[in-house]
């Protein structure tokens, strides 16, 4: 455990972990403990989030919408009490300081007026916002001046009619998705509209959207918070991993919705491959650069009409389908000039010929290398996708098994764990191939490849057992085998991740990664 802790400390603690972050952390967890309606799932996840065992594990916390709201409320209340300003104003100030309370307080103590002005507050008042009818008022936006026109002004005193104000706010919130920085409609005025004034002016539906947007800015403003990218998931995750740590660690986090993703790049879990490598790999796979590679390895252009020709067997005497040009595939020269040396191109030995051949061979080797890794990567990706279908099938299987064999619910859970293990292991395996593609050969690669092979063998054999028909699954020997294999798979995965994560963490010092980075950067 000691070494693990040391590892964690090199990764995160030396980086300026803000003290207030850890405060938030604690308060969030505490709140759960004393919550009126404790949620067992949450506790489990908080546990997972807090343990830091392996070098590939990062510390993280999942927050649900109410937690996010509460964190903001806590900060707003603190600032509200310390600075003796209204809550709405405290919120605006906090947003301006990106929720860095310490900096806010420090700056505010030093030069309150400048801070207020810069944040769009100017001097504060405690009067509640209200609509007014002012005799002789003419709205500067719509130029309406009939009597009895209701109007509103922020502290700056720029007064506009209620209709214009509503229209303005509606457009900002609905169309532009703005919330935290909506200014007074007056030209050149940077006063920010506060939540209380907004509530007074717009419909409940807009207010709700406004508060949603505000919540969003809270998460987006903080580097340590990120939304869970799963569809319809409203949770956010807090993790102290900084951008500059990413070459040395792959911060996989897991949301309460069970979605596992990388905190660094928001893509699905891609351990053990670091983010930059993943980006590079995905780009490579998406590009048709490899198609071009294939073309250059397998085809030549007709020397006369430039049509692309693939030689699919046969002799070197080529006749272009398009322009009927006859040439030699080897030297690309005119076939007629070959004279009697047909089928034995003597220009083949010429330097230009050998150069062309070398270039072609090189391209072919790199293509084959890529395809080797890509096929395995794609295969696991596909299998992982199939595993998702399998998971639903598993649930049916478990029910069926319960009925047929008289096993209890808890006794058939081993199928669920096997299915989970298959999915996560395949996900990992998939990325080991992308990782390996960029890896230079050395002693460590061998260890890596051995680990990879072991995991792959284990996964494939578990997969095979898993697909057995229900009546065989009921067999207690197979059950034990599956359970053993499941835990073996998980163990192999951890060994592989441990090994790569440790080497990654050591970073450029390690023989392991430097060649990779050299390769990537080139």
């Amino acid at each position: 455990m000691d070494t693990d802790d040391e590892f964690m400390s090199t990764v995160s603690s030396e980086e300026d972990m803000l003290p207030d972050d850890s405060d938030n952390d604690l308060s969030g967890v505490d709140d759960f403990g004393f919550d009126d309606e404790p949620d067992p799932d949450l506790d489990i996840h908080h546990d997972i989030g807090q343990k830091k065992r392996a070098p590939y594990d990062v510390k993280f916390t999942v927050y649900q919408p109410q937690d996010i709201q509460q964190q903001q409320d806590v900060l707003v209340n603190e600032v509200n009490m310390i600075l003796d300003i209204s809550k709405e104003e405290a919120a605006i100030l906090l947003r301006y300081f990106r929720w860095n309370k310490e900096r806010l307080l420090e700056d505010y103590m030093d030069r309150p007026n400048q801070v207020l002005e810069a944040a769009g507050l100017s001097q504060t008042t405690s009067d509640p916002p209200k609509l007014e009818v002012i005799p002789g008022f003419c709205c500067d936006i719509c130029c309406e001046d009939e009597g009895g026109l209701q109007s509103f002004a922020l502290k700056c005193g720029h007064r506009f009619c209620v209709d214009c104000y509503r229209h303005y706010l509606g457009q900002k919130i609905r169309e532009e998705g703005e919330a935290a920085r909506i200014q007074c409609p007056a030209e050149g005025c940077n006063i920010i509209i506060d939540a209380r004034s907004l509530d007074l002016l717009v419909t409940a539906e807009l207010t709700e959207r406004y508060h949603k947007l505000l919540n969003r800015t809270y998460v987006e403003d903080k580097e340590t918070l990120k939304w869970c990218p799963a569809p319809d998931c409203q949770n956010a995750i807090e993790c102290g991993i900084k951008k500059k740590d990413l070459p040395r660690i792959v911060p996989t986090v897991s949301c309460l919705c069970s979605h596992r993703f990388c905190f660094g790049c928001i893509l699905n879990d891609h351990q053990p491959a670091p983010c930059e490598l993943v980006k590079k790999w995905l780009k490579k796979c998406a590009d048709d650069s490899e198609t071009a590679n294939w073309i250059s390895a397998n085809t030549k252009e007709c020397p006369k009409c430039n049509s692309t020709i693939e030689k699919n067997g046969g002799c070197n005497h080529m006749t272009c389908r398009k322009c009927k040009h006859e040439f030699c595939w080897m030297c690309m020269g005119l076939w007629s000039e070959h004279g009697t040396s047909w089928y034995n191109c003597n220009r083949f030995e010429e330097k230009s010929g050998t150069d062309a051949r070398d270039a072609q061979a090189k391209s072919r080797v790199s293509l084959e290398r890529y395809l080797h890794y890509y096929n395995r990567y794609a295969n696991h990706e596909q299998s992982a996708r199939l595993d998702k279908d399998l998971y639903t099938k598993t649930e049916k299987k478990m029910v069926q098994l319960q009925k047929e064999s008289g096993m209890s619910w808890i006794e058939v859970q081993y199928l669920s764990s096997a299915s989970m293990a298959l999915q996560t292991c395949r996900q990992t395996l998939m990325w080991t191939y992308a990782f390996a593609f960029y890896l230079a050969r050395n002693n460590l690669t061998e260890i890596f490849e051995d680990n990879q092979k072991d995991l792959e063998l284990a996964v494939e054999s578990l997969s095979e057992m898993f697909e057995k028909p229900v009546n065989e699954l009921a067999d207690s020997k197979l059950k034990v085998d599956i359970m053993d294999k499941t835990s073996y798979c998980n163990k192999r995965r951890i060994i592989l991740l441990d090994d790569t994560a440790q080497n990654l963490a050591e970073g450029l010092r390690s023989l392991y990664l430097s060649p990779v980075w050299l390769r990537i950067k080139s």
């Binding site: 500067d140 936006i141 719509c142 130029c143 309406e144 720029h158 506009f160 209709d163 214009c164 229209h167 303005y168 457009q171 532009e176 703005e178 200014q183 409609p185 007056a186 030209e187 050149g188 005025c189």
Partner: protein
């Protein structure tokens, strides 16, 4: 419609106390949302004594959305695209920055100021901006050449395609 009331008021204000160097006409009496502006380049600008046609189109949502402004007269300027109906880059006119209480007079004043003082750090025409920064003499020569070619005499608003094609050879690469 609140929008027409506001535009009418602005038009009245602009015609009773016209802003310097600016005259306004409505191409169609029935459409108050389309203005033709003739801007005489200020004496302190390199574009003097050119006269430039500017088309102002007020959107339906005006004044909650900014007016659309194009240059009907070609002009050699870092912040205005080098074409017939050149578009203009003005931070005031961007949706995020636009304030409903901003008046068209302010916008026109900003454009007038842009002729006196181009903003090469925020260019629409990068090549012209580079030239403005590094070879001012060359820039001024070219700008004056454009003025004598396009900005002399009566301002034309309904520019037919090809009318400005004469200067095609000098067309600058457009900022992407």
């Amino acid at each position: 419609m609140s929008s027409s009331k506001r535009i009418t008021k602005e038009l009245t204000d602009c015609t009773t106390t016209p802003p310097p160097n600016i005259s306004i006409t409505l191409p169609s009496d029935s459409n108050i949302s389309l203005w033709h502006i003739t801007l005489s380049a200020p004496a302190e600008s390199v574009y003097y004594p050119g006269k430039f046609g500017i088309i102002v189109q007020f959107p339906l949502e005006y004044p909650f959305k900014p007016p659309q402004i194009t240059f009907a007269t070609r002009i050699y300027h870092p912040n205005i695209t080098n074409e017939t109906n050149g578009s203009i880059c003005l931070s005031l006119l961007k949706t995020d920055n636009w304030k409903p209480s901003t008046k068209i007079v302010t916008v026109l004043e900003a454009i007038r100021q842009l002729l006196v003082e181009p903003q090469p750090d925020d260019p629409l025409e990068t090549r012209i901006a580079e030239q403005y920064k590094n070879e001012r003499k060359e820039f001024e020569k070219e700008a004056r050449a454009y003025v004598s070619k396009y900005a002399k005499g009566q301002v034309k608003f309904n520019v037919v395609d090809g009318a400005g094609a004469a200067g095609e050879g000098q067309q600058a690469g457009r900022a992407s």
